[in-house]
Assembly symmetry: C2
Homo-oligomer: 296 residues x 2
């Protein structure tokens, strides 16, 4: 199977399982709208890159997809909640996401805040449920890791730094720090969770963390290049927003050619990190190449 | 020690421990504001009723306060996050809470959304950390319980129902259902978590759950009575809001006298539930009497 076919197959499996998790919601009036909003935010779109990384990382350690799928769904819930809240008028004020109206536009602001809260909470409900892993120690560790990566020293801090960019000078280094937290934290969880599910030894786990760091930076740099050059139709959301907001990105610092060179270096770094796994890591290496080359 | 002295002593212990949890935050510019906002929301106020119930419930099963304090702090983080988000302009649009400006007024809306998100996430970080309980199975169970009680079939659903009251008919029964979810869910967690920390048997756990249900309804009915009769200064927030919004409460249905009678019945129910514990449950019984009588 080609990489793209594998990515799409996994996205379908995640979509299906997420749909099952999101089917069990409240049926009372008022509650149905909340559940619909959560489904709107979490289903029907996205490449499911984070779940893919989690599943592929787990596979490196002999865990089959079925036993990594719930953890992957939990992670995707956190990702989707973060998009919903980041898009809010008080935050980035985005009206379009994945080519569709954002949640607060399609529903309303209160429902968007609440659906985001509920998706974040659902992530921990899924992750701590016995179906996710028979060993409670693994489940508790995954919860702790996800809470740390998503929280006030991880993704939420990244969003706070991003918000602060509107009222203070933002160097390219500040931008990288912000992006490492805002985007990188969940990639790190994805890869490390795979290692934890597979009871990886410490060097194996460290290799995945190193891969995730390079992957996350490559993803973000490709995103910045898209933002600087892309057209809104292909990307499915507003572009050139970073420059509008005066946020210094690496692309502004290095230029497009320099940024492309750095991107190639990051892909090489991701490959190096996975060297100990040999050919087994081919799909994860393909994933790093894929994000570096993506056009949308 | 009198009940009030015990309640205040526990509140101090919770305040202190919460302060320790909230001291370890990010120090980068942008991040400090997030951490400050979280401290503003979580510290310096409140009777800490939910932590008190958790600690007292755990004590029934021989767990000392030190070993219930972290779970109590996690619960309080969820409670504080819910207040922050409920107060937002898109939600209940409240400007005053505990006699102070609400978080989005004191800081800004984006910071309030984010600080709420981060407090919710921190709750799961605290709850899943080994310091909370040495047995990972207990930690995973607490996480699962808290996520369920706080999530889309629990507290978040209650808030969704509350929001829906503005655009549909709301019977007194609807109001009770909404309140049971919005307010009752965390009381239930408080008492059940105490039982889980103490490895209570199934009847013991069920007794605490029954107590929590009566307690939660008594708390809410007392709140409705305050809302109908109270003055804003004593309560420390806006009052008579329910009637303004056309939400039918039990007080409207039963009248003040009827509501007071029902309140007394709920306190008796709470007492009955704890009968198996005899004199050991005196503090929890005092707590039910206290919330029924409170004037603020």
């Amino acid at each position: 199977m080609t990489f793209l076919a594998e990515l799409e197959r996994t996205a379908s499996a995640v979509e299906h399982r997420l749909g099952e998790h999101l089917a069990a919601g409240p049926t009372s009036p008022g509650g149905t709208e909340l559940a619909e909003a959560m489904r709107y935010a979490a289903l029907g779109g996205g490449k499911r890159l984070r779940p893919f990384l989690l599943i592929q990382s787990a596979r490196l350690f002999g865990v089959d997809e079925a036993h990594a799928l719930d953890a992957a769904c939990a992670l995707e819930c956190v990702h989707c909640y973060s998009l919903v809240h980041d898009d809010l008028p008080a935050m980035d004020d985005d009206a379009v996401r994945r080519g569709r109206p954002t949640l607060h536009v399609a529903f309303d602001e209160a429902t968007a805040i609440l659906a985001g809260d509920a998706l974040l909470t659902l992530a921990f409900e899924i992750l701590s449920a016995p179906a996710t892993h028979p060993d409670a120690a693994i489940r508790a560790e995954l919860v702790l890791m996800l809470a740390k990566e998503a929280g006030w020293r991880g993704m939420a801090l990244g969003q706070a730094l991003d918000l602060s960019a509107t009222h203070r000078h933002f160097s390219p280094e500040d931008t990288v720090t912000m992006q490492t937290l805002k985007t990188g934290a969940l990639f790190r969880f994805a890869c490390e969770a795979g290692a934890v599910l597979g009871r990886a030894d410490s060097p194996g786990r460290a290799a995945l963390v190193a891969y995730a760091a390079a992957f996350g930076q490559a993803f973000q740099l490709a995103d910045d290049l898209l933002d600087a050059q892309g057209d809104a139709e292909a990307v499915g959301k507003a572009v050139a927003k970073d420059a509008d907001r005066g946020k210094a990105t690496l692309v502004a610092l290095l230029g497009v050619t320099g940024a492309r060179a750095r991107l190639a270096g990051l892909v090489a770094q991701a490959e190096d990190a996975l060297e100990p796994f040999g050919g087994k890591a081919a799909t994860l290496i393909d994933a790093a190449r894929f994000v570096a080359k993506r056009r949308a």
